[in-house]
Symmetry: C2
Subunit: 343 residues, 2 copies
Amino acid sequence: MTVTIVDIAREVHMTHGTVSRALRGSQQVSRETRKLIQQTARKMGYMPNSLARSLRTRSSNTIGIILPSDVQMEVLQERVAATARLAHQENLDLMTYYNWPEEHPYQRAVHSLRSAQVAGLIVSHMCEPTLPEALKDWVDEDRPIIFLTDYGRESFNMIDTDRVEGFRLATEYLVGLGHRKLSIVLPWWDGPTPSPNVQVRLEGFRKGLQEAGLPYSPERVITYKAMIEEGMTEAMRRLVDSPDRPTALLTYNDNAAAACIQELAKLGLKVPKDISVVGFNDSSISRRNLIPITTLAQPVEEMARITMRKLTDMVRGEGAKRFPSVLCPPKLMIRETTAGLGP
Amino acid sequence: MTVTIVDIAREVHMTHGTVSRALRGSQQVSRETRKLIQQTARKMGYMPNSLARSLRTRSSNTIGIILPSDVQMEVLQERVAATARLAHQENLDLMTYYNWPEEHPYQRAVHSLRSAQVAGLIVSHMCEPTLPEALKDWVDEDRPIIFLTDYGRESFNMIDTDRVEGFRLATEYLVGLGHRKLSIVLPWWDGPTPSPNVQVRLEGFRKGLQEAGLPYSPERVITYKAMIEEGMTEAMRRLVDSPDRPTALLTYNDNAAAACIQELAKLGLKVPKDISVVGFNDSSISRRNLIPITTLAQPVEEMARITMRKLTDMVRGEGAKRFPSVLCPPKLMIRETTAGLGP
DNA sequence: CTGTTAGCGCGTTCAT
DNA sequence: ATGAACGCGCTAACAG
């Protein structure tokens, strides 16, 4: 059926050992036989069995990547695609596992990927601020791993956009436009502390206010119930009715920004004339919205490059198994949902 | 380092053969020893090496999926995620290859995935109307394969949204609203015939017109240069200046629809008062656009189910290696970019 | 019921 | 420069 090195060996009247060496370009096999073997291999349509190779060499050339299957994030997919291209250039394969939130998150994913003998792991979407149990073993064994999501300050091996810097930058920009009454619109959190995703945004916002010498108070934060369809509707109504209505809004991401703008329009507020709005992600909706949304672009390509470099280093045993997290600054994309204050 | 079945065998004073059987739940091993072995396996943190298993059984439980890395398609990613979830339920792994267009498309992808001994292939984004050379061998060998993209009528093993029906349905809907002057906005094609992606849309449009008893003429088709930023700008200007301006527009997809609406607004035309616009895909931009876009939703979950069922059948040798393509009807999502004609 | 043995395809060490 | 032989971890066929 499929042609193996023994088939080739039989064809050229040699042993499969020689064929193996020749195909790997070993110097200790004569030039002629090497050429002969390589030619016949091609002629016979030989294709190496990477399973057997990995089994023998005890090292695989595939890396596992764990993605969330519940949330759809355009930018995450861009990152994955960019990373994958670089991986393919290094002759690395990608085994994807779409993680479905369950009682033991990541457990099935890690189990499956371990069985497949992946050489490294790329993990996205840490919902929890703490390392999941299933990943703990992997980390403790000092196996190569990289996290794609900014899930807290005390993290390591994480490569992501610096959201604190992003929201600080956006605040600075709005203040520069003359705005003094800023608010940030964030999904509501149940527990005593907001989720890391919310926290970093808030931190950047506060930092920006502080640098501008503007006071921060909890009233500057407008929350909405994320899962409920009317969450944003209700939040914007609250905002419009508030005694000290803000003139500029930071939002969780572009989708939230677009939802904001929809609701504000229904309430009779024009963006950006009456109120400015900034999104996050530079996703297609920010570019194609009827009013293109001012937003922050994640440095996707750059992060992909760093990710692959770190990962290949680790897989080859060249780099340290742990490194301090890398945060890349986003880029402000000024479009049409932000404007200076009217006269 | 890693614990294998021989380690377990040593632990329970048996041979690895027995351990292998016990772990697979074979009936021909006593209940007690089976329990004992399974417990010690868990205790020792055993994890099967699926490479070795696949090598031995000559059958792998991973399926390859080839995706385009250049175009970002939200709906495609949704399909992949949905399919992946079902695959994982069947204990199938997914090896992803992000195809980068080059001189020999799919060649590196197929090579890589073949080496990994994937049991089946899922292929998206057939740019060409004809089967790529690299996939021809795979098909000729009757290996399991499924195509995700509607690339022509004479195809097989393809599962996708029925775009002809979608555009017919949209046309029918617009005609039902009272529109008589419809146009379709499509990316420009260089060759003598449009690309399959364009062709199916055009076909649906013509079908819809015909059923409504409305005449079709080439002037009903408005083309724009897809890669050029100003393509849509120029196309919409042409549209507005045309002597017999249409009152309703079908577009390539939601992004194109949003771009249309942006440009029409710049030219002073209000959607939907002056002109109706229909998109395609039900992507987030259609939902979150300042004016939510009427569009057609692809039956993502349904297609994922069919895909996995067909694929698992093929992989298990239960189903035929070729089946007639399956086209699933999209669903019309009526939102706010379409309206009846004014009095 | 359990032990023994033989590979799956490949890389590699030890001879020659 | 090439051959012979072993083993990676696992399944399966054959004994007993």
